[in-house]
């Protein structure tokens, strides 16, 4: 198994740092954040100055006030810490794609990330320094296991980076609370005279379990790396994901296009190797000011052709606002399908492979500009009801499963909604002699027999009357499709114009 590396970040004064950034006047004032608990105000967060007086979280606010003269007591917002951590985690994406929130800090899976910054040392330095510069009092540590990184960040005294395979030695001198266990267990350990982990580790497993429980053993072995520790990452990893961080933020359209091309080349290389093509991809740009911009493209046909995909993104580039600059691009293929290798019986009949590709490319371009929902292709459907005699095709390769011909001619133009017409018919069940549409009188010279179309009862059990359709021709040669809705003897008989024949 490839050895993994983790960084643990501990925000020592997360809430107070955050507040100080928003209210700079608090910078040199000792203050605490409190929340009511069992009818008392309990300190929930302290700042650096308050800590110097020995105030810690869990104290009663009244006690803290007594200790520190002029202590500012502010209300803590419930749930704020998670919110800030989530934002911090989102920001950390430029250091690693795998980030998990862990109590009052973050865990980053940095396996294979550090070489981009030169060395592990430079990596950690850059990460911690940037956060410090932002105003957050943060401690970071790097180790082979999550547990040890967590412990070193909080209790380490010597160096923040524990070399590979050194984790056992590094863990031994640490105090028991470095194991992430319940306070009761820690108290018990101290009572029994265990002041560091070295003393514990020599004891028999069964004895430890009996005394301190399963959780203790699990935490110990997680820190030692004997047991895997699954993390919940805030950005679940897409199977097809590529990323491109920049040393210098990029701002111009030309550079953005070049970088998108690099990303697509990387993604398409992998897709081609696996015989897959993408149907939907999302490009995310992480800007210097912390905002994330997105561009989405979709294709009609799975594609791993970088040049074609770049064309689709090129249409989106004018919408990408780099503002002060983009630091990182990520590209995710959300929907991936197998590329059709063999020439299926495509609907283009004798059209060559190339022309099919060209058409799919065209429809992608158009779809990405004006919306793919505006592109339609139809297949026949087994229904005589004119509005339902066709259905939209789902893909470019879909073939009709029946003939278009259903016996009677159909009009070239069909009105979306049939329009009422005034009609004069000699006999009730005959075609009309003339009709008036939009104030113009059309005298009928020729007419075909009626075609009665019944609505399918399973579609609309009670709503529709049957329709008697007539193809009629007026004295000028205009050919129309009109129908009488309902039975000719009935009350609700009405005439409608529905279409025009060629």
């Amino acid at each position: 198994m490839m050895s993994r590396r983790y960084v643990s970040l501990w925000f020592r004064h997360l809430l107070t740092d955050w507040l100080t950034l928003r209210q700079p006047e608090l910078k040199d004032v000792p203050f605490v954040l409190v929340a009511p608990e069992k009818n008392r105000l309990i300190v929930k967060a302290t700042n650096r100055l308050t800590e110097q007086y020995g105030i810690s979280t869990g104290m009663a606010a009244a006690d803290a006030r007594a200790v520190v003269p002029g202590l500012q007591v502010l209300n803590a917002e419930p749930g704020k810490a998670e919110e800030i951590l989530k934002k911090a985690a989102a920001w950390c994406i430029r250091y690693s794609p795998l980030i998990s929130i862990d109590g009052d800090g973050l865990i980053l899976d940095i396996s294979g990330c550090t070489h981009l910054w030169g060395s592990e040392h430079d990596y950690l330095k850059s990460l911690v320094k940037t956060l410090l510069a932002k105003g957050y009092d943060v401690r970071g540590a790097m180790a082979d296991t999550v547990g040890l990184a967590w412990a070193i960040a909080r209790y380490g005294k010597h160096k923040p980076i524990i070399e590979t395979h050194e984790h056992q030695n590094a863990l031994l001198p640490l105090p028991p609370e470095a194991l992430r266990i319940e306070p009761e267990t820690i108290d018990l350990l101290y009572k029994l005279g265990f002041f560091n982990i070295k003393q514990i580790i020599g004891h028999e497993r069964s004895a430890l379990r009996r005394r301190f429980g399963n959780n203790f053993l699990l935490r110990l072995h997680q820190a030692l790396g004997n047991v895997d520790e699954p993390l919940q990452y805030i950005h679940p990893v897409e199977p097809y994901h590529v990323r491109l961080p920049f040393l210098e933020p990029i701002r111009t359209a030309e550079v953005i296009e070049m970088r998108i091309k690099d990303l697509l080349d990387m993604l398409c290389e992998r897709l081609t190797a696996e015989g897959m093509g993408l149907r939907k991809a999302v490009l995310k740009g992480y800007r210097v000011d912390g905002k994330v911009i997105e561009a989405v493209i979709g294709t009609n046909k799975p594609s791993n052709n970088a040049a074609h995909l770049l064309k689709l993104f090129a249409l989106k580039i004018p919408g990408i606002e780099p503002a002060l600059g983009i630091e990182l691009f990520t590209l995710d293929a959300f929907k991936v399908e197998e590329v059709e290798h063999k020439q299926e019986n495509l609907w283009l009949a004798e059209g060559s492979d190339e022309s099919t590709d060209a058409l799919a490319g065209l429809l992608d371009r158009v779809g990405n500009k004006i919306g793919a929902q505006n592109i339609h292709r139809y297949l026949p459907q087994a229904s005589y009801w004119p509005e339902r005699s066709l259905k939209p095709a789902l893909s470019l390769a879909e073939q009709p499963d029946m003939d278009w011909n259903n016996g009677r001619p159909r009009p070239s133009l069909l009105l979306k909604y049939p329009q009422r017409i005034e009609v004069m018919a000699l006999l009730p069940d005959e075609p009309p002699r003339h009709f008036i549409w939009k104030g113009k009188k059309h005298i009928i010279k020729k007419a075909d027999d009626a075609e009665r179309i019944e609505p399918e009862w399973w579609q609309h059990p009670e709503r529709h009357n049957h329709r008697d359709y007539y193809m009629i021709e007026d004295e000028k040669g205009g050919r129309y499709w009109v129908f009488r809705s309902g039975h000719h003897e009935g009350e609700g008989t009405r005439w409608y114009l529905h279409g025009f024949f060629a």
Partner: protein
């Protein structure tokens, strides 16, 4: 003497056509697309594919007749390869009707746009695509500049385009190869048979680049265009005149 002169004129006309980009027909093209006498109106006697045609249809009846004529032409154009793309803002065309004119409706791709600007953009993109047999766009008007853009695209891609124009008040010069107007004519039935016969139209070529404008009567029967013989035409034409008058 006159014969020699005519020969010279013919040869000069041929040269001019060649300079203007009308190559003499190849054997395959000589077969035509079934439009009969109308094809003679075009230079070299061939229906110009790879060009933009302008169809005027102000009324719904004209639009229906025009779509019938276009489908008849498409049935030939789409035989070789490809699809047809139809772009419009308010689509009324009913795909099942295409079957009657020998076109498989599932090879028509409809693109609905919100604005006319988008229609022309999509048309230009579609005309660039060599995998397409024909592109049809429905617009209100077409300016000279817009038509020239489209013309430049088809000169390289050789895709045939049809622009259906509905606003007759803004007719202006365009670079289109031909301006058509199709009006429905009363259908003819054999003897006294009742019912409506095969679709019949009066096809007018109002403008033809390097060709001869004219008026023809055309109908579509089962699997091809049929046209009235020369002598019928005269009488029927006067009929129409009377009716209009």
């Amino acid at each position: 003497m006159t014969e020699a002169r005519q020969n010279i004129i013919k040869r000069l006309q041929k040269d001019i056509l060649g300079w203007q980009g009308f190559a003499p027909p190849s054997a395959a093209e000589k077969k035509g697309i079934g439009l009969g006498p109308i094809e003679d109106a075009f230079p070299n006697g061939i229906f110009p594919t790879g060009n933009i045609h302008e169809m005027l249809c102000a009324e719904k009846e004209q639009a229906a007749a025009t779509s019938g004529l276009m489908m008849g032409i498409l049935s030939v154009l789409m035989k070789n390869n490809g699809a047809c793309i139809w772009i419009s803002t308010g689509r009324k065309f009913f795909p099942p009707s295409a079957h009657h004119f020998g076109v498989a409706a599932h090879r028509l791709v409809f693109i609905d746009t919100q604005r006319e600007r988008d229609t022309l953009w999509v048309m230009e993109e579609a005309l660039k695509c060599e995998g397409v047999a024909a592109v049809i766009a429905e617009v209100n008007e077409l300016s000279f500049a817009q038509s020239r853009r489209l013309q430049l695209v088809v000169e390289t891609s050789k895709v045939t385009g049809f622009v259906l124009r509905s606003d007759m008040r803004k007719l202006s010069t365009t670079t289109c190869v031909a301006r058509w107007q199709v009006n429905p004519l009363p259908s003819q039935t054999e003897g006294d048979l009742p019912g409506v016969g095969f679709p019949r139209w009066q096809v007018e070529l109002l403008r033809v680049r390097n060709g001869l404008p004219g008026t023809w009567q055309l109908s579509w029967s089962n699997h091809g265009f049929t046209w009235a013989a020369e002598q019928d035409l005269e009488t029927q034409y006067t009929d129409v005149q009377l009716q209009v008058g």
